[in-house]
């Protein structure tokens, strides 16, 4: 089931009557989620990602625009008639019911021709439980489960009525770091096995990048970029997206274009064509700079962090907007830490420049 969002907009009326400032939580969102894909809505808090999810699920009404499931316009349809499964951030498992009762609950609500017999209900409950590997725990209460197990129960409850679309609100935020890794693989597996179009919300870019087919980066209600995780990472449309994706984060420096050369401070680091002279922001991925005696960029060396496979070279530069300039290099490369400065060479495909006012990407060609 593909999901189409058409000019989707959500405006919250102002809470403070005096200022009369309304909040545009989601602004003109256009997107077609292909059938059977796992989509991550990604952005910092307050970017409208959860609002978008709740509009898809129907718990919030859009102020404008339309939502289609396949060919059906579901914009005016109430939540229960949309055929969605929703996993809440805090799971919202009914504390007084056992795991079995929790999973079975949505089935017991079915009416008319969809009504199931007790055996059918139990079969589907068991199947859903098996899918998320909690069939051993059916008689436990939620309070007797770990966070990860509760998460699985919540997913089973969302899947048991075979929804057209599965929605997950911050599915991993309540889990500890280790469980998070495990669970995100689990979500990926369940999604693959069921083939249900799935949308999830997260503020953790690593989480979104690692399991999504498509990520949607949002900021202040506006979609910044949509694409496969790697392509968004490799080809950010603006400074916000470049900064938001990637751990460790991208190095951002001030610079300028002058006479076909990109300058950081007094050093010309790259010769380019078809870019007008202007002040710019420069984003360089940590893996986009490598130490080289004849390098073009000179930084003040601070320290080297060894992480096993890689090393992180920490240095500073007066034009840097971040406190440090970080380079990730193969740990086989030895750095003389007694030196005051270090010179880097630049990999142009990891080197992005942005307009200083609009922060939009400026595309250049290397001379």
């Amino acid at each position: 089931m593909k999901v189409v969002l058409q000019n989707l907009t959500k405006i919250f009326p102002s809470r403070d009557k005096k200022s009369g400032q309304e909040v545009i939580a989601v602004n003109d969102f256009n997107f077609e989620i292909p059938d059977g894909k796992l989509v991550g809505l990604l952005g910092p808090s307050g970017c409208g990602k959860s609002t978008t999810l709740y509009m898809i699920c129907g718990l919030q009404k859009p102020s404008g625009g339309k939502i289609f499931f396949g060919e059906d316009d579901v914009t005016e349809l109430s939540t229960e008639n949309r055929g969605i499964g929703l996993v809440f951030q805090n799971y919202a498992l009914y504390p007084h019911m056992t795991v079995k009762q929790n999973i079975m609950f949505p089935l017991q609500n079915l009416k008319g021709k969809d009504k199931l017999t007790k055996e059918e209900m139990f079969d589907r409950t068991l199947n859903a439980a098996k899918l998320v590997q909690i069939d051993e725990l059916l008689d436990r209460k939620p309070s007797e489960l770990s966070g990860g197990q509760q998460q699985r129960v919540a997913i089973a409850r969302a899947l048991v009525k075979m929804p057209r679309v599965l929605l997950l609100d911050e599915p991993l935020s309540n889990l500890d770091a280790r469980l998070r890794l495990q669970t995100r693989e689990e979500i990926r597996r369940i999604q693959r096995e069921t083939g249900i179009t799935t949308v999830f919300v997260t503020h953790d870019q690593e989480e979104a990048m690692s399991i999504s087919d498509i990520i949607v980066v949002m900021k202040l209600g506006v979609v910044q970029q949509i694409g496969a995780p790697q392509s968004v990472y490799d080809d950010p449309k603006n400074l916000f997206v470049a900064k938001f994706l990637g751990t460790p984060p991208i190095n951002v420096l001030e610079g300028k274009v002058s006479g076909g050369k990109i300058y950081i401070g007094d050093e010309a680091v790259l010769e380019v064509t078809n870019v007008d002279d202007q002040d710019i922001y420069i984003g360089i991925r940590p893996e986009g700079i490598e130490p080289n005696e004849n390098g073009v960029l000179t930084c003040n060396l601070s320290s080297v962090e060894v992480m096993g496979r890689d090393s992180s070279v920490i240095s500073t530069h007066p034009a840097s907007l971040n406190p440090i300039v970080r380079a990730i290099i193969n740990s086989d490369i030895r750095i003389d830490t007694s030196a005051q400065t270090i010179k880097y060479n630049i990999k142009p495909h990891k080197f992005f420049i942005f307009n200083k006012e609009t922060e939009e990407r400026i595309y250049y060609e290397v001379k």
């Binding site: 929703l86 809440f88 919202a92 504390p95 609950f105 949505p106 609500n109």
Partner: protein, 312 residues
């Protein structure tokens, strides 16, 4: 040494409270036990120099006393009828109150008003509302005076003699049930509303996503999640019910019944007071202990039943 000194200080600070508790709580309890087990004990007689033997005569007297069985029956009926009715009504009102946004605070205040109103005054108002069918003062025209009978007549029904001379026991009890339920509502609504507001909204969102009908949301989600509060209002409701007394006074006056059947609506507490008024402290104490035992047993039973159904 330091520790000893501090202990001494602690006892010093506690002493006013302990003194008051000993005098006004512990001693009366002990004295009740003592009086209950002294055959035929009465304060006046004791002052007069009479001595009393130890025994269970007081208890036997209480149980043999016909009036006592009537009191027990009245109390039990009132409890069994009013606690479920008021709890269910309070639950429905609380759920309704919780689901509306405008006027919620105003309605909350209105529903809470009976709680801060004097119960004797309320009783007098109820007595007026349920008043007799009879002759209008100074004329020979038959008419009704109470608004309830007026309403019944308006809809073409026969007026009922609710509380006046010649009224039936059933009618009397019906009035008492209505009055006690109405009186008990505000406290229960307040407790349940507080409980409702502390239930996580996500449970309801989850139920909505699953298309749960309203009735099922109430019985399968709201009531179980509210069960600790429900248990509390039920247990305190029964305890309050067994101590029912002033509500009867409020409607029927200290005769505890219609003019032609005084004492018909008397309760356990009323029985204790009556015994006290007749200088039968021994009998009153025995009756009080019996009442205590009944409340204890009922509460233990309640606890046991509730434990199975309450989810903390």
């Amino acid at each position: 040494m330091v520790e000893n000194k501090q202990q001494w200080k602690a006892w010093l600070y506690l002493s006013p409270a302990i003194f008051l508790l000993l005098v006004f709580t512990v001693w009366p309890i002990i004295n009740t036990l003592r009086m209950a087990f002294l055959n035929g004990y009465g304060n006046m007689a004791a002052i007069g120099g009479a001595t009393f033997e130890f025994g269970i005569d007081n208890f036997l007297k209480v149980i043999e006393y016909k009036q006592f069985l009537q009191c027990l029956q009245n109390t039990a009926i009132l409890c069994v009828a009013t606690v479920p009715i008021s709890t269910i009504l309070a639950l429905l009102i609380a759920v309704a109150l919780n689901s509306i946004k405008p006027l919620q605070k105003t309605l909350q205040t209105i529903f809470f008003l009976p709680y801060v109103t004097n119960s004797i005054a309320i009783g007098m108002v109820f007595a007026a509302m349920f008043n007799i069918v009879g002759l209008k003062q100074g004329s020979n025209i038959a008419d009704t005076w109470g608004i309830i009978n007026n309403v019944i007549q308006f809809f073409g029904g026969e007026p009922i003699n609710w509380i006046n001379a010649g009224s039936s026991y059933v009618a009397n009890m019906a009035v008492m049930v209505v009055y006690i339920v109405w009186n008990a509502l505000p406290f229960k609504i307040l407790i349940l509303l507080g409980g409702l507001q502390s239930i996580n909204k996500q449970y309801y969102d989850a139920a909505k996503v699953d298309g749960t009908p309203k009735g099922r949301v109430l019985t399968r989600i709201t009531v179980p999640l509210l069960s600790p509060m429900l248990a509390y209002v039920i247990i305190t409701g029964f305890i309050g019910g067994f101590k029912e007394y002033s509500s009867i006074i409020g409607i029927f006056g200290d005769k505890m019944g219609p003019a032609d059947a005084a004492g018909r609506l008397n309760t356990m507490v009323g029985f204790v007071y009556d015994a006290l008024a007749r200088d039968r402290q021994g009998r009153a104490s025995a009756a009080a202990l019996i009442l205590f035992a009944i409340i204890l047993v009922v509460t233990l039973f309640n606890n046991k039943v509730i434990k199975k159904h309450v989810h903390y």
